[in-house]
Amino acid sequence: MNRILLLLLFIGQVVLGQTKLTQEEINLLNESVKANAKNTKTIVSDFVQKKHLDFLTNDIKTEGNLIFKAPNLIKWEYKKPYSYIAIFKENAIYINDNGDKNSFDLSSNKSFKHFNKLIVSSIKGDLFSESDFIINYFKDKENYLVKFEPKNESFKKMIKSFELLFDKKTFDVVEIKMNESNTDYTKISFLNKKLNQPVSNDAFSN
């Protein structure tokens, strides 16, 4: 019975084009990603975000660009179909919603604090600790896929699991997927990513 189950699981993975990494491959991925994150001082990238809700006919598509500066400055700017800027800086989020400015202190809200950590680490490509997440590693022809399931109960209510897709050659994060349930998710794909270009701190003023 167990053999049949294993065979089915194997077939399932092959059909999806994903196979599990060996411990050796996991170690290599972890080391490479860590080294990459350490050497990444700035990131400038375009992004396309797709929100999938199972009951919708079409995914909701938004676009913009992202600027990151080590250790933890992030500017997330949506340009289409609306203008919206979120700057993550010093444990707070500064918002410019088409001219309406606002800010939130992240330290007072555990869920948002977790979410912020997730965003920062995902962009840098930092892998998360096994004490906080159940982690599974996969690969296909071009990418490594790492799936994280949060152990923290309040975080779990926001996000059931999330996935980071790494380019196999560069170990860069090319896609983030946040699964809210088995059917609903948000997928962010990075395009035209440029690393370690000079970025002024002025880019992060609201």
Binding site: L53, Y84, N102, T186
Partner: protein, 201 residues
């Protein structure tokens, strides 16, 4: 003289107690139309809006999604710009089910107000209790639970311009529709709460 003063006082009292929504309008003797329809969300398509909610001293932006699943069955989801859900309601025959709500949003009064707003905003078929006339406009009075909704319909194009949600004597909430429902403003008079919606183009 005394009688005149008393009459004036009564008149002022009556006017101030009457609902401002229909003040000065002519009530029609007969109701020709049994139902007034709100067609803005009647199609089975995705309605996606950039939303701004100003509630008390808090401002929250996000994306509001409204979808008619089938007859009398709607899904209403509000997410942040990053895509994570703030709340996920289902409206089925005027009854709400909460599929998800973020802790920070889960305040009984706030949820009750939001759900009442969505019911007024979405409910398609509304039984007409009275009809009032204004120049170039008709106003249809309908009931919603123990409150009333007044539908302001522009005469020539037969477009729904406004819904005023009231109790017997006071206006509680005003819903304004512009650009064929692509822009919607919801303004509360009892609470400092405003919702502005702008459809994705």
């Amino acid at each position: 003289m005394m009688r005149f003063l008393i009459s004036c006082f009564i008149l002022v009292l009556l006017t101030s107690c009457s609902l401002p929504t229909t003040r000065g309008l002519v009530k029609e003797r007969e109701i020709e139309q049994t139902f007034i329809y709100n067609m803005y969300f009647s199609q089975n398509k995705d309605f996606v809006y950039k939303a701004k909610i100003k509630a008390f001293s808090n401002n929250v932006g996000g994306i509001l999604i409204i979808k008619k699943i089938k007859e009398n069955n709607f899904r209403i989801v509000f997410t942040s710009e990053f895509g994570n859900k703030f709340f996920d309601f289902e409206l089925n025959n005027n009854q709400f089910t909460t599929h998800f709500i973020l802790e920070a949003f889960n305040r009984k009064t706030f949820v009750k107000i939001l759900q009442s707003d969505f019911l007024t905003l979405i409910k398609e078929k509304n039984k007409v209790l009275a009809v009032y006339k204004e120049t170039g406009k008709k106003v249809y009075k309908t009931r919603l639970n123990n409150k009333f909704n007044y539908f302001f319909v522009e005469g020539n194009k037969n477009t729904l311009e406004k819904i005023v949600h009231t109790n017997k004597s006071r206006e509680l909430t005003i819903f304004e529709f512009k650009r064929d429902g692509k822009e919607i403003q919801i303004l509360h008079k009892k609470f400092p709460l405003q919702i502005a919606l702008r459809a994705f183009d």
